[in-house]
Subunit: 279 residues, 4 copies
């Protein structure tokens, strides 16, 4: 086994012992570097531990650059890796620090904040370590259309209600413009309720009550739709089932752990090569 293959195996495949150790080291480094970014943004801590934060930042950048270089160098298709989701994340994780070197002469507050914001994207490197996170993303994607339609519907509703509240309450009571009223409506309908803007007139309060009850009542709709979607795929978070129907009576809807058709008793799961109970 060549050195490149060894590196590749270790970096891209966590099945090997060395791969597991490296995975753990990387996980700790990512968490530590995110924590450092968070704490470095607290003014008092930034003042007191400036040197420590600076040096640890150089260290993390060196490590992640090394990791990126090794992945790029040992990947079977370097270009494809570089353009993949995780390849881009790995690049974004080191870019802000290098950018920081160029702008070190004029560390304005705004640039400083922007760099810190970009650095925090390192947290997305965590997604590589969780199989469940990928499943959750698949699950979110499958209900994406339904949630989008629902939120679009809620948005149209909030624009209309927001305009009505602007008409009813007016700028004297904090509803200074329609966008501001729409903002209030979203805050109210999603049951967040900051309280920085609140209706003052009787009619406004009546309308607000209706908005709250509406928001409280229709939250059930997307839930229902998602449950329905999940229950049709009979799966929860996992990938969609591929056919799993009875070879005798063609009935589907069997549980994942069923060996026999629940309607006719025929043995299930031989057709696609993999036994039914194994899924």
């Amino acid at each position: 086994m060549s050195l490149q293959t060894l590196f590749r195996e270790t970096l891209f495949n966590s099945e090997t012992l060395l791969g597991r150790v490296l995975e753990l080291v990387l996980l700790v480094c990512i968490l530590a570097s995110v924590l450092e970014s968070l704490l470095d943004s607290v003014p008092t801590l930034h003042q007191d531990y400036q040197a420590f934060f600076g040096w640890s930042e150089y260290g993390f950048t060196f490590l992640f650059t090394l990791e990126y270089g090794l992945r790029l160098g040992t990947a079977e298709r370097p270009f494809r890796y570089a353009l993949s989701f995780f390849g881009l994340i790995d690049l974004v994780a080191i870019l802000p620090s290098f950018l920081g070197l160029f702008v070190i002469g004029f560390p304005s507050l705004s640039v400083f904040r922007a760099l810190r914001f970009l650095r925090i994207f390192r947290i997305l490197k965590l997604l590589r370590f969780s199989e469940e996170a990928k499943e959750l993303l698949v699950s979110l994607k499958s209900s994406f259309r339904k949630i989008t339609v629902f939120l679009g519907f809620v948005l149209i509703l909030t624009v209309i209600i927001g305009s009505l509240m602007y008409f009813v309450e007016g700028s004297e009571h904090g509803f200074s413009s329609i966008p501001q009223s729409v903002y209030w409506t979203i805050v109210t309908m999603t049951t967040v309720g900051y309280g920085d803007i609140a209706p003052q007139t009787a009619l406004g309060k009546l309308l607000a009550s209706a908005v709250m009850l509406l928001g409280y009542g229709i939250i059930a709709v997307p839930t229902g739709a998602i449950v329905q979607g999940l229950s049709q795929s009979r799966l929860g978070f996992g990938p969609p089932s591929l056919g799993h129907c009875c070879p005798n009576c063609r009935a589907s809807g069997h549980d994942a752990d069923a060996n026999h058709c629940k309607y006719c008793g025929t043995l299930l799961g031989q057709e696609s090569g993999l036994p039914g109970g194994d899924r």
Copy 2:
């Protein structure tokens, strides 16, 4: 094909290429006009871009009037279109601007706000472009009765609890009248929680805690009912199942695991080539 037929095809049927282009143009116009209405209501922007907003408003009104005229002129049954949901929306979308011409002499703030509120109804024209929105409306309508009963029940509860809080806290702590107390109860039970009114006495806080836990606990009831409703109709948001209908009485809506038509008892699922259990 006569000119009228061409217009009608283009306006009412987005299957043709010209229809798709027009649809896209209309979509952009609606969004731009809604955005203009929103931004025009911000005092500072209104001051600075008064001329721009005025001319673009004239432009949008001209466009939507043209659209309304063409739809009215080319529709197979003009009267029926005029009284349909989208016909009324199309009318409401242009009316406020024409009304604005008449009241231009006395632009009081209240009239000004009312016109802007009416103009925002243009956003409902968006509903024409989304098949899913119509499905969502159908889905909402099907659970409308359950949500209404639930909200009516919540309303009775809030009136009783609101009166109790009025009795317990009194006007010294912001619960100045029963309607005000009911408003507070709705704000609390729907978990919005502005914080403009909050209980001060120990008994009031105890009662408020009970209200919150109640609101947190019973939100599950409408969700359960809607999920139940969706799962009975086997629909979710998606399009209704097409093929799976009884070869004898043509009734649809059978469960995925049905072997026989539940209405006439005929064996299901042979007609469309794919067995009933395969769905």
Copy 3:
């Protein structure tokens, strides 16, 4: 038909035309009287329309007393009616007004408020008119145990977390005692969030974040349990099904509108006397 029978038919049975008319009149009276109680509690309105509110209150009390007397006099079992849920509600609806006559000499604010609170119970008379409300109550009762256990669990959690927050934040930051801290925890965990008390220290905010995420995450548990309960009873809001199983293959789980067994095609619903599709 005797006069007593006529009255009884009209009062307790809304199937007859006269019964329907009376029902509508009563419905309007109840709503008007509740509205009057609500508005009478607003100080400014009370000042201005004192006489009007007083006389209308006398009117409603006279009407409801008449109704109560007639129901009591014509009921087949007067004693049983008097002790039934609606009998007690009918009594409570008129009692406060009669009590008001005795304490008219010393109309202290507290007594005044107590009477108004009692008067509002008239709203419960509305429950008589809605079949769905009764179904919803049945549905609530069936999931009552689950909701109670869940809320009990949440309560234990809030007591522990509240004590921890009292320890962490202390009375300097508004967490003046454990009950106060528990109140804050309930406000936070149910996602109400007034903002009158909020953590100030870093550790307190960290803990508060955990409480919020916990509250956001576990709301799904009662929903899941209720959906599960509803889906087992295959019913939604309605009463539990009484045996609706196929007379041939004894399979159950048929839809409410099924005439034939979906598994074997046998005609359903002859056994219990009422046809299956009628439910």
Copy 4:
């Protein structure tokens, strides 16, 4: 029956009459002692009833120590009981009071608060009395992984959004550091909404609206997953179905509409007298 057996039967088995009486006495004592801890922490009550609280605390400690001693002495495997969940809870319930005796010389506020916080763990003794609480814990444990993955996902999202808000709003508007911004994002996304920190700029409000709608929309995801999980285990909160198991392989967990065992294919439902479809 020896005295030890009698004690053991009474303490660990609530089936006997004496066991039920003792259970009730214990339940009342636990509730009273928790209530005492809560009220003792209210400064005004602590001042006025110091002696009463002190003596009742000694009383409860004596009682719970006696209970702990008896359980330890009569348990079949004392060591195993001592290390069990309830054994540890029983120990934690008395430990703070004994610790209090040692630190009585220096009753600093911080130590005082810590002891009270520990004492509140007595409330966990309540869990012993509720079968449903154990079932709920099992139900929570079964969906623990899904809720954890979901909350981890939400946490990554809040860190990224929090950093973005810190960049957009800056410390002038209360978003003084990234941890503070993340705290605000959690408060907003879980729809708690204190209102102590709120966006001031137009861009910040736009972003906040997106966060709220996101939080409102994705709450449906864990609910769907839990419902799915519950519906696969066919359990809800209730006791597992008893009779409906395969007469051949004794496997249970079959669907209500199953005719054949899904594991071995044997025809189901003849054994217990009631046909399989009757459940």
